[in-house]
């Protein structure tokens, strides 16, 4: 009982246990490379990866910065684009019926396949990267926001109606706010996708960002460098995820209790 609740409640456990988990996984990985004598070009050991990182830390961090920028820009853009679409979907059955399969279809397109096309269309600047991130992550945002708005309890909707609230008020004072917890679920799914989107975009037509590093190092058979970049990406992704978790706690204190 006491042990259980320590694991459950102490903030130290909430931070320590995940770290222990990660450390354990890294140890296993290391062990595997040693026990099976795996060559580093097949699967570099954690040590190779760290060495590879220490070789040029500032370079790698700069490229991480580039990727972060694209990810965050595209992610914000996806919110800006996705929420109004969700609004439209919720507002009218007609629009939902018309638009939904289109959304599904766009979502179904393998984004890697169109990365080169985006460059052909939009050139070498930041745009194709940001747009790729947008494309990759706007779907879950739209769906979860729409779902959240639709699940607004009928009693609250009736309340606003009985107060003779306008449609706009209904949406902005009620539905959008109500949808926020579900929206955050969508955002948390979207953020990992956003990171991956930036990587895919950086495979093509740029010399910056972790995606480029991965592609380039793959091409020059530098697997440890590729893994260093992948590791940085994973860390980036996890950090962004937990930033969202934090934001959720701060912005939606009322939501945590009504789970």
């Amino acid at each position: 009982m006491t042990k259980r609740s320590w694991l459950k409640d102490s903030p130290a456990a909430a931070v320590l246990l995940p770290i222990i988990g990660l450390a354990g996984a890294i140890a296993l990985w290391w062990l595997a490379t040693i026990v099976f004598g795996i060559e580093s070009y097949l699967l570099p050991s954690p040590r190779d990866v760290v060495i590879s990182f220490m070789d040029q830390p500032s370079y790698l961090l700069t490229e991480t910065g580039t990727s972060i920028l694209e990810t965050v820009e595209g992610f914000l853009l996806a919110i800006v684009v996705g929420v109004p679409i969700a609004l439209l979907i919720v507002r009218s059955v007609l629009l939902e019926r018309l638009v939904y399969p289109l959304l599904l279809m766009v979502n179904a397109i393998p984004k890697v396949a169109i990365a080169p096309l985006l460059v052909v269309w939009m050139g070498f600047g930041q745009w194709p990267k940001v747009v790729m991130v947008l494309l990759v992550c706007f779907f879950p945002i739209v769906i979860s926001t729409a779902q959240g708005m639709k699940s607004t309890p009928i009693e609250l909707v009736e309340l606003l109606r009985s107060l003779n609230a306008s449609r706009t008020q209904e949406f902005f004072k009620l539905r959008l706010r109500y949808a926020m917890p579900q929206m955050f679920t969508g955002l948390k799914v979207a953020i990992s996708l956003a990171v991956i989107g930036s990587v895919i975009a950086e495979f093509v037509g740029t010399t910056h960002g972790l995606g480029y590093v991965i592609y380039q190092s793959g091409a020059s058979a530098d697997t440890p460098l590729a893994f260093a970049a992948i590791t940085l990406l994973s860390i980036l992704s996890i950090v962004l995820f937990y930033i969202l978790v934090l934001l959720e706690h701060l912005l939606l204190p009322w939501a945590q209790e009504s789970r």
Binding site: Y41, V119, V120, V204, T207, Q216, S217, G218, A219, A221
Partner: protein, 318 residues
Amino acid sequence: NNDDEGKQADTGLTKVSYLTSFNTFGREAYAYVALEKGYFKDAGFDVTINPGSGTVDVMKLVAGGQADYGIGDFTGAVITLGKQKLPVTTVGMIHQRSLAAIVSLEGYGITKPQDLVGKSVGDQPGSTNTVMFPVYAKAAKIPADKTDFIPSPPPALPQLLASGKVPAIGQFVVGVPLVEKADPKHRKAVVLPYGDVLPDLYGNAIITRTDLAKDHPDQVKKFTAALLKGLQDTIDDPAAAAATLKKYVPQTDVGVATEELKLMKPYVKPDGFNDPLGSVDPQRVQTILNLLDEAGAIKPAGSVKAEDVVSADLAPKS
């Protein structure tokens, strides 16, 4: 969508964007050398270098106006133009001989073209090596359909070869140092260059838009000249060129890059080649077209004319 020729920066330089043929390997160093040494600036250009991702993509990007100049394999370009009339032309050669080759490692039992029969070769789909293989097979007198090409992304090729998943890969000659570096057992590479049996093939060419070539021939000539000057410096001092590249592309392995550039030299300026760097021989272009017609790589045969693919008058001449 091509108003770039008018784009004058404050400095009075013409803004120009340039695409490497594929990524930023050592073999692409010459553009960075020309940039670093100010050759482009002297010729009145402010050049941005972007990494390309293969001949076809480069052609599309140039055709679509996203880039003004690009590097792509000449043969590949010809075959692509046979399928799709993109508004691009070539205005000079980087490599006087084709770098395309099949590469294997010692101990995989491949030492001559005949050994390829019944083997599989890993390569990027649509690469010059894949596309030209029937032509190569014909010249080497082996059956073209007895060799399987397994599509693999370029980054994975060295590992696939080293791990023995495939006994051979399509690779440019200059890629050999990379292949050897990727092999943890440090075996020597076995190289079967297409140029051995097809001496007429060119390697990479400088690609630009047709209208740019037509409307601003002087500009094109000046750009080509500056780029080739960088190429000259590069083959004269590969180590320095590799170091320059490292400046722009930090994760360059200078050793490998130098090695690549040394290997590249005889392809840029073969023994007994005394024309200026980059020059084009209309005679050879026609030979190549004939070869491709015969091999069925252009359909219908004869549909591509030399003037469709080269602007020979813009290339450097002796």
